[in-house]
Symmetry: C2
């Protein structure tokens, strides 16, 4: 095998109550990366399709490129030549984990291409290097679920402790990406450095409830726990019509609805595909009522992580 | 049946990372309440054994008395006459949920005596009234686990949402009560009203990890998650030799160790009874090294809640 193409899923980080610790993967959208072995040593981004020229072509500054480079260094294979093609199949800067999906697809692809020298869980630190390039910090709440599939808790960074939550809950995710821009760094900058003890307690209760709800599974408990009293009240200000779109989701039967990552995309979880689609249409309508167009995606929670295609 | 005697278990609130939201019950110690139907209407505390005269004898000011009175009012049976005897079998003001155990035993007993007009879960608000008398606020992190058994999350107070965590984890609890006094209200007063966002995130990660660890069960994850970066660093100052006793517990194989409720008692969790006993001896020795005597209790996590004896 001298060429491989891998899909890695988009992800929803934070998931209402779990700021910086919680994320899940979806079946759609996602990114694809094609790797081809070349005689010339080094990692080259030979093409990026679908980014409208916005992403860096230099491997060391590209999330997939740096993830692959860091991986090759770790396994002492910097002699390897790799041509990389990125197929961006989701909006950039959307809060859907676009940079994470590219990094995960890249590092998963090279590991498969080389006959899987490392187990999948060990690929996480390399994908996190991609996040460091893209966002300024090596966070794991997008790369974790993109790599492992399902719902993931980042319990700790030092040492890194990423836990996949076992759940039999059948959940459909609606993602709506309004055509506006929110910079991830700005979205972090507006957060307060202090939280009231009262809100911390409320949030901890919801974190506990969400994990218990997923693992039981208990859909009512999941719904009651999808509440964010710390981050959403601040960041939602950056998203026009946030409250209306959220209310539209809840009115149409969603279990919960909040910001995906640092936005501007929003996610909603529902118990079946019909509800999830209805929720998406209602959310899009809310944005459209003030002239904001959007893209909507509906899919199941992704359980598998990346896959060779 | 015109008389009944009920045992209700002691409880560990907070459980390291879960301040105000988390608690569990133990098989030992606990309190007992005896109720006897009387011809004279009204609730009377006729005797309290083991409190050294410290608890109020007036029913409306006694945790068990007020819980029973509130219950009888709710079910329109204020005509009933009840003589109440409290058998206090654990230290008062110890952080082991003494007031909660009495309130739970009382309200469970009267409900059984009357042929169980209310399901057990519905007794919670009456037991919480006992806590309001004892501590100034109707908290549920002791009465919840004492009434339901096992590990309990108080997700929300408004509306009240108390969740029993289903776990097959086999855990032994060591409780050590040093013979010093910490006032619950003081212990709350020294807490800061603000928490850094960083510590909030760390704590949320541990809350998620603890619930996932219990439900899986994953003992290593339970151990890694039994960490409190918000409350313990402040409240432990009120407990002489806290750090030494905690270190002794961990050195002797405990999965984790922290303050029980608002202290001064400490709890440790272990995987078997031998470890739990060794942990208790080591913790007692740490206190004794500075001349502080203590009582130690070792038992399994209580799964049943109150029982008729």
């Amino acid at each position: 095998m001298d060429s491989i193409r891998v899909f890695a899923p988009a992800t929803v980080a934070n998931v209402a109550c779990g700021f910086d610790i919680f994320g899940f993967a979806v079946d759609n959208p996602g990114d694809q990366v094609t790797l081809t072995i070349s005689d010339e040593p080094g990692v080259r981004i030979t093409d990026i399709i679908g980014d409208e020229g916005r992403l860096p072509r230099e491997a060391a500054r590209n999330t997939a490129g740096i993830a692959i480079q860091t991986y090759l260094k770790q396994i002492n294979r910097t002699d390897l030549g790799l041509d990389v093609v990125l197929h961006k199949q989701m909006p950039l800067g959307s809060g859907l984990g676009s940079s994470a999906a590219s990094a995960v697809a890249g590092v998963y692809a090279v590991n498969e291409l080389l006959g899987r020298p490392l187990p999948v869980i060990k690929l996480l630190p390399f994908a996190m290097e991609g996040e460091r390039i893209a966002c300024g910090s090596a966070h794991a709440d997008n790369v974790g679920p993109s790599l492992l599939g399902g719902f993931v808790v980042v319990r700790s960074y030092s040492p890194l402790d990423v836990i996949k939550i076992e759940t039999s809950a059948k959940l459909y995710c609606t993602l709506v990406h309004p055509d506006i821009e929110v910079n991830t760094k700005d979205a972090r900058f507006i957060l307060k450095n202090e939280v009231s003890l009262k809100n911390t307690i409320t949030q901890m209760g919801n974190v506990a409830g969400l994990i218990a709800g997923l693992m039981t599974p208990d859909y009512d408990l999941i719904s009651r726990s999808l509440v964010d009293v710390i981050i959403e009240p601040v960041r939602s200000i950056l998203i026009p019509e946030f409250n209306e779109a959220k209310q539209a989701a809840l009115d149409n039967g969603a279990l919960g609805c909040s910001i995906s990552g640092s936005g501007p995309s929003m996610f909603a979880l529902s118990r079946n595909v019909q509800t999830a689609e209805q929720v998406g249409a209602a959310m899009q309508q809310a944005f459209l009522s003030v002239g904001i167009t959007s893209e909507a995606y509906v899919s199941q929670i992704n359980r598998q992580g990346p896959k060779v295609i």
